[in-house]
Amino acid sequence: MLFCYVALLPVVALFFYVRIIPIGFSFLLSFYKWNLISPRRPFVGFDNYLGLLEDENFLLALQNTTIYSFSTVALSTAIALPLAVFLSRKSRLSAFYQTIYFLPVITPMVPVSIAWKWIYDYNYGILNYGLSLVGLPSVAWLTDPAIALWALVIMGVWKVLGYNMVLFLVGIRNIPAEYLEAASIDGASDWQRFWRISFPLLRPILLYVVVTSTINAFNVFTQVYVMTLGSQSAPGQAVRMLVFDIYTNGFQFFRMGYASAEAVILTLIVLGLTVIQFTLARDKEAKPR
């Protein structure tokens, strides 16, 4: 008994100090107005939250982040699922494809963002070169905020595709072969076998993939910071995203309470998504098949 507490003490102390206390503190802080150095720290009630409702930057960030998340998740799922279905066949090339498609998942975000920034470059980028080959005009991928959002989506899909693919692959491998064989004997086509047998069995994984990648996408920051901040032709015109807005309010304007209110909203979004996942997953289990 004593051993348990002694063994856990360092981890639990650390856990409380770097996670539990800050999470609680951020809720508390969101009701105060504070600039980090002033000894005055007035309680302002829900003022920070009410302020956010009228803050154009925040609303734009919320909108951009939502569009970014849903687009990235929808596209990466729609590509990863058929990809996994094809790669689940026995093929000598399957392992090769898996390696290649998975590669972006483990590469650090900053160098990869720098590489993409160069690809998106207006004057010398290979993407615009590709467009010129088919007779299309050059696109200001990163300097026009409306387009830059989609440039980030493309890169986001590229980064997360392999991860979703691998999760689907495991799901497909876990489908009992007898089910599919039985369907073949009954004369089902490949198409029918997928939609009638594989797809329903993959739904829990699909749900998991969609929810976790949406949560991850909501935290998008590094590539926004590296690729769109201080673009030469439009300094400071970054694509506003939620975490970027938190960062700006907290660490450039030192509005700690205000930024905390934003952080609380981010937490609530993530919690909401998690609750949705659990509820849907439970519904599936409760239903008799």
Partner: protein, 284 residues
Amino acid sequence: MARQRSPALFSMARIGIIACHAVLMAGALVMVMPMLWMFVTAFKSAAEIAIWPPVFFPQAWTSANFSGAFETAPFGRFFLNSAIIALVSTASVMLTSLVAGSVFAKYRFPGRGLLFGLVLATAIVPFEAYMIPLYIQLVGIDWINTYQGIILPYLFMAFGIFLMRQHVSSSIPTELMEAGRVDGAGEWWILARVIAPLSGNALAAVGIFAFIQGWGIFIWPLLIANDQLLFNMELGLTAFQFAFSADIGKLMAGSVVSVVPMLIVFLLLRRRIIENMALTGIKG
């Protein structure tokens, strides 16, 4: 079950498969292109980088960008900092996951459910949502702009604790631990000599995760490291980019240096990383 197929159908199916491979190959090219482009650009001279139309491979390969990058900014130091952060974090995450995971899996004590519930419930809260209070706490203890401040949040991983608990409770027989106790072994000895040696794979999985995460951390060092000597590769590269945004060659060379350790880890442990991510992803 070999199904009878007419020859015509068979060849249709073959054409379909070849078409699929063509699409997958094109996709694979898109997937490696950013990295490939980074590599070839890093070896080009400035004259070959800013030309239109772009050329893919450098006509004259040069390593000048690498030496130039290391002369312009302390990339050696950045690299060392990244390595220190990633290695310390990995070691600590493996140790804390082993200890806490085992205790949660094999021992009963008051508060167990509550503590483990807290670990699970807060695992989903993104770091970005509580980095401000954490920053304020570290201002309070004067850890801003220090190594220990940068590493602190990465010394344990809720996910690692969860993973080790799963592993220990499902694959370590309690009888084995009992046998140790009968022989007079203490609990720490059992942890080190019974549980740890049987947990190699799970610990390796946790360690790989921690290393990849530790190497790539960005937003926390961005907040807390003001002194350039504390920058990791990620932060150093970003700073370099803002200072010398036109110097694409050196920028790409620095990026290559940051990517290569991860590429080596990945190519060496490819099968294992993919499988780990898959299994743990589903369970998590």
